[in-house]
């Protein structure tokens, strides 16, 4: 199969601070990240003719973001599906560029979740809204962590998965975080205790937050943001860095249904679309940037993307397989340190694209030698109930 090379990531920036101490707004983080990503590409504001925005900066997103940046784009896409919005944006940018609707697409993200002291994980879900699903669920007091914990419990029940196996996700991610100075600074600024590489025992002996998930299986809550610039081939060829091609994409949602299987996610739909379009398989991936809100998220998504069979993820992940320095064993997981140990301001999807691009350029702190193919998979909403899946396959030049 001939891979289509319609669009490439040409500029990236991850906002370095995870604690802005209430001094910077989400919109300011978005704009600064955009400027840095455009510089990284060797482009300017005036080159941008497509904006992709999840609306997290407020002000009706698509109506006001072009004005804030000072742009006059011909494409405005405001897909907002939670943490995977940026994988959806990358898919749509590729589609719009291939259709000739725009040539330079700008994706931005900014959040001050930490400064706002917003309890993303354990906030309870109070206050029934007028959406019918919320009106049925709110009375039960399901925290976000409990939602994912219910997936883990059923996974353990069906497949005899253990907490020790899930801990492999946490320790591989922390290993990579300790090699990333920005991740170490993040953990210091967010006052993590005992910042070091962790062991399986550390994870399973950490405090239980919602059975069976322990503290060290849960992501941090940081400030942060970033930007990605995606361009048409004729522009990508002249940019400062080598292009990182978007080879395939897939999108899906999943939600509770009578008799449905909670251990299987929307990635079972988005994954085959993306790998099929790219003409590659999971086994060929050098890098797996998988949304690590919790340990169970990664285990579920790796299975659903086809790295191993459903239910076999626990045994498959054992023995350090996901470390960056074991390339012959399979993909390197979340080599930036992930949401668990580097950056999670609420919607982490943009960082999956950024670190995958770093790897394919040879710029990661935990660089996989000669990395050529990467998958970035975002999960939005809540894995144990209604959630979105965006899969992007990336390849080096």
């Amino acid at each position: 199969m001939t891979q289509k090379r319609d669009a490439a990531i040409v500029g990236i920036h991850e906002y370095p601070s995870r604690d802005v101490e209430g001094e910077v707004s989400p919109l300011q983080i978005k704009a600064e990240s955009a400027a840095r990503a455009l510089e990284d590409a060797g482009l300017n504001w005036s080159d941008v003719d497509g904006i992709y925005d999840a609306g997290e900066g407020g002000g009706m997103g698509g109506l006001t973001i072009a004005e804030y940046f000072g742009l006059h784009p011909s494409v405005i896409d405001t897909t907002s599906v939670g943490g995977s919005s940026y994988e959806f944006h990358a898919a749509h940018a590729k589609r719009d560029i291939a259709a000739g609707k725009c040539r330079v697409a700008l994706l931005t993200y900014g959040s001050t979740a930490h400064s706002n002291a917003r309890a993303i994980g354990v906030g309870g879900r109070g206050g029934a809204s007028m959406h019918p699903a919320e009106n049925m669920d709110a009375f039960a007091g399901m925290t976000l962590i409990a939602n994912y914990a219910m997936v883990a419990h059923r996974h353990m029940h069906n497949y005899a998965t253990t907490s020790e196996q899930l801990a492999e996700i946490s320790i591989a991610t922390r290993l990579h975080a300790m090699r990333n100075p920005e991740a170490v600074k993040a953990m210091e600024d967010l006052e993590f205790l005992d910042i070091r590489e962790t062991t399986i025992e550390d994870v399973v002996n950490s405090r239980m937050i919602a059975d069976p998930l322990h503290l060290l299986e849960c992501c941090m809550i940081s400030d942060g943001g970033g930007a990605v610039v995606i361009a048409a081939p004729e522009i990508a060829r002249d940019c400062r860095k080598s292009p990182v091609w978007i080879l395939g994409s897939g999108e899906a949602t999943k939600y509770p249904t009578p008799g449905g299987d909670i251990t299987s996610s929307a990635a079972t739909q988005s994954g085959p679309q993306a790998f099929g379009e790219a003409g590659v398989t999971a086994a060929e991936m050098d890098i797996a940037m998988i949304y690590d809100s919790f340990s169970i998220t990664v285990l579920t998504l790796l299975e659903d993307l086809g790295f191993c069979r459903k239910g076999e993820g626990g045994g498959w992940a054992q023995g350090g397989r996901l470390r960056f320095d074991r390339p012959s064993d399979g993909p390197a997981l979340n080599t930036d340190g992930g949401g668990l140990s580097s950056n999670h301001p609420g919607m982490r999807g943009i960082f999956l694209l950024i670190e995958a691009a770093r790897q394919l350029r040879g710029e990661s702190c935990s660089q996989v030698v000669d990395a050529k193919l990467a998958v970035a998979h975002g999960n939005g909403g809540m894995l144990g109930s209604r959630h979105s899946a965006g899969t992007i396959i990336l390849g080096s030049d």
Binding site: P132, A138, T143
Partner: protein, 139 residues
Amino acid sequence: MNEPVRPLPRADEFDTREFWEGSKQREFRYQQCNHCDEVVFYPRRHCTGCTSGELVWKVSSGKGTVYTFSVVRQSYHPFFRSRVPYAVAWVDLEEGPRILSNIVGVDDPLSEVSIGMAVQVEWEEHENVNIPLFKPIED
């Protein structure tokens, strides 16, 4: 200062108001399509199985099993933080609906709740609505 209370549903929400109306009679109501037999839950006005749907309201026995659960140890919500540890569960009713609820009537949720355990609805009374919680029963 008022005691914090459980977040309660709105009685006027368009799709789910019939369910909450039924709760006042301690009826666990759900919908099924006369045309394609699809069970629809949460409640809606349209059938999700076919376009010529004729949804009718039925009353569940209130008996089901725990599909999966978690015991919440930490919550910042004013009501729920006073209740930790408590069990949140997806419960499969024998007629098909799957509902998010709490498992109550156990001394220790950490040791007394399990996947597959048989449960029965137990309504928690409030002024204008009753809340469907679930307690263990013999199989």
